[in-house]
């Protein structure tokens, strides 16, 4: 891991710890609860991240059909949600086909982006800090402990580096 990767990793963890799962329309969790949720969710170490983070336009949440940003095992579809053309602070439905769901993400934005297991959005929500790029969602879980891979039903783009409430939008 090069120094840049260390910096990215520290930044990711630091902000992700402050931007953990929030139920729709609510904001705050205690610091202790946040740490606990993060620890439980991130079951597998991702200390080594040698895979090059893929091309993802600026100010865009990019989602990938397969792990490692479609670079591992099989390539696949990339779905981009640019800030300029995606509703803000609203849930956006992302489909239901088993082959069309997300296995890795790149939140190539300065602000927090959100994912929800359901649409209409329920309380199985996770917030990703700006710059977060989980390369394999099988290593992450929802607050209820279920696996996050291929189970995201809605996304939302925040407008702040701290967590915010999200309205129902298209869900």
């Amino acid at each position: 891991m090069n120094p840049s990767s260390h910096r990215k990793r520290r930044r990711w963890l630091a902000v992700a710890a402050a931007a953990v799962a929030v139920p729709a329309l609510t904001l705050a969790l205690s610091g202790a609860a946040q740490a606990g949720t993060l620890g439980a969710a991130h079951r597998t170490s991702t200390a080594v991240a040698a895979v090059t983070t893929p091309n993802c336009p600026n100010a865009t949440l990019c989602a990938y059909q397969n792990s490692d940003y479609n670079n591992n095992g099989a390539s696949g579809t990339q779905w981009n949600y640019p800030y300029n053309s995606t509703p803000h602070l609203q849930w956006v439905w992302v489909g239901s086909s088993a082959n069309d769901q997300f296995s890795s993400l790149n939140n190539n934005r300065a602000w927090v982006s959100y994912v929800n297991k359901s649409c209409p959005a329920g309380n199985q929500t996770r917030a990703w800090a700006g710059g977060a790029a989980p390369k394999n969602l099988q290593n992450w879980s929802w607050p209820n402990g279920t696996n996050m891979n291929d189970s995201i039903s809605a996304i939302a783009l925040g407008t702040s580096s701290t967590t915010q409430g999200i309205s129902s939008g298209s869900c």
Binding site: V48, A50, V51, T52, P54, N55, C56, P57, T60, Q65, N66, S67, D68, N70, N71, N72, G73, A74, S75, G76, T77, Q78, W79, N80, Y81, P82, N84, S85, T86, P87, V92, W93, V94, G95, S96, S97, A98, N99, D100, S103, Q138, N147, N149, D150, S151, S170
Partner: protein, 310 residues
């Protein structure tokens, strides 16, 4: 998008031609430039062996299984790296489900070398100009400021996958090199492993199209034993709903057959060279319009991997 379909058929046809240039030995040798490596997606000698009948799909898969079971195939050393070359045709979608969303398709040439430690070196290069679902999608892309579609540089770029991370299954838990090389040689045993790797994501009964996709990638890219390769074809033949979508003629009988399997929203297609009992391509076809693919018509191929031998 008929022109896309024509492109894919053309690529597949090129693969057929390349497949016909075998070495004359029982199975293909490693790809040029990777002489120390084991070539994934091995091919049987095209002549002197019975070809599967052009019957219904399960019979084709079972015949391929029988050919691999009887093949005089000598496995490479246990620690040999495996290498495959593929042309990936993939969708890049902007703002799916949102007014102004658009869909483009990019084509990437990749060479993938996977070590026994399941580390990988992937060299990727752009292989074609982007295509858009409709002319309107191109306009929308321009209006959006021509954002990057995610193409690799034409000159290529290399990516590294750390040891233990490379997976031979597109979805589900990671299946490493050694796990692939150690897969059971029985259909029941192999199916159990594949389903176990999918269970956390797709439940106990994943869509059959997804299972076919997993198996096809395994056959096409993984360092399988002869028994496991035969078992994988047997599992393919047992999938409910498997059918023959299309055949392409050879001099005497069909040389290439396309097996396909549809689920609710999409369909997996696997092109097979019957002469060499190898997979030429794996494709995903959209069966009905989806907000996840703006302006893409039902029946369009939204992704494919075409395996090449040179």
């Amino acid at each position: 998008m008929p022109d896309t379909r024509a492109l894919l058929i053309g690529i597949a046809s090129a693969g057929v031609l390349l497949a016909g240039c075998g070495s004359g030995t029982a199975v293909t040798q490693a790809a040029p430039g990777a002489s120390a490596a084991f070539a994934a997606n091995p091919r049987l000698q095209a002549t002197g062996l019975p070809q599967p009948p052009p019957g219904h799909a399960p019979a084709v898969a079972q015949a391929l299984a029988a050919r691999w079971a009887a093949a005089p195939w000598h496995a490479s050393s246990a620690d040999a790296a495996t290498v495959f070359r593929v042309i990936d045709y993939t969708a890049t979608v902007f703002s799916p489900g949102i007014p102004g969303g658009f869909t483009a398709f990019i084509t990437t040439r990749r060479t993938v070398v996977v070590s026994a430690a399941s580390a990988a070196a992937i060299t990727a290069s752009n292989a074609a100009s982007p295509r858009f679902a409709t002319p309107a999608d191109r306009v929308l892309w321009k209006e959006a400021g021509r954002p990057s579609l995610g193409q690799a540089p034409a000159t290529g770029q290399t990516q590294a996958i750390p040891a233990g991370d490379y997976t031979f299954l597109p979805q589900g838990r990671t299946l490493t090199y050694r796990q692939a090389a150690g897969l059971p040689g029985t259909p029941g045993g192999l199916a159990a492993v594949i389903l176990a790797h999918l269970r956390a994501y797709a439940g106990r009964y994943p869509p059959a199209s997804l299972t076919l996709r997993q198996l096809a990638y395994l056959i096409a890219t993984a360092p399988l034993t002869k028994a496991a390769r035969s078992a994988a074809w047997q599992v393919v033949g047992s999938l409910p709903g498997l059918r023959i979508c299309q055949t392409w003629p050879g001099p005497l009988q069909p040389r290439t057959v396309e097996l396909c399997l549809a689920s609710a929203d999409d369909e997996t297609l696997v092109n097979i060279d019957l002469g060499t009992a190898s997979i030429l391509s794996i494709s995903d076809r959209l069966l009905r319009p989806s907000p996840m693919y703006p302006h893409v018509a039902a029946g369009t191929i939204v992704g494919s991997a075409t395996f090449v031998t040179s």
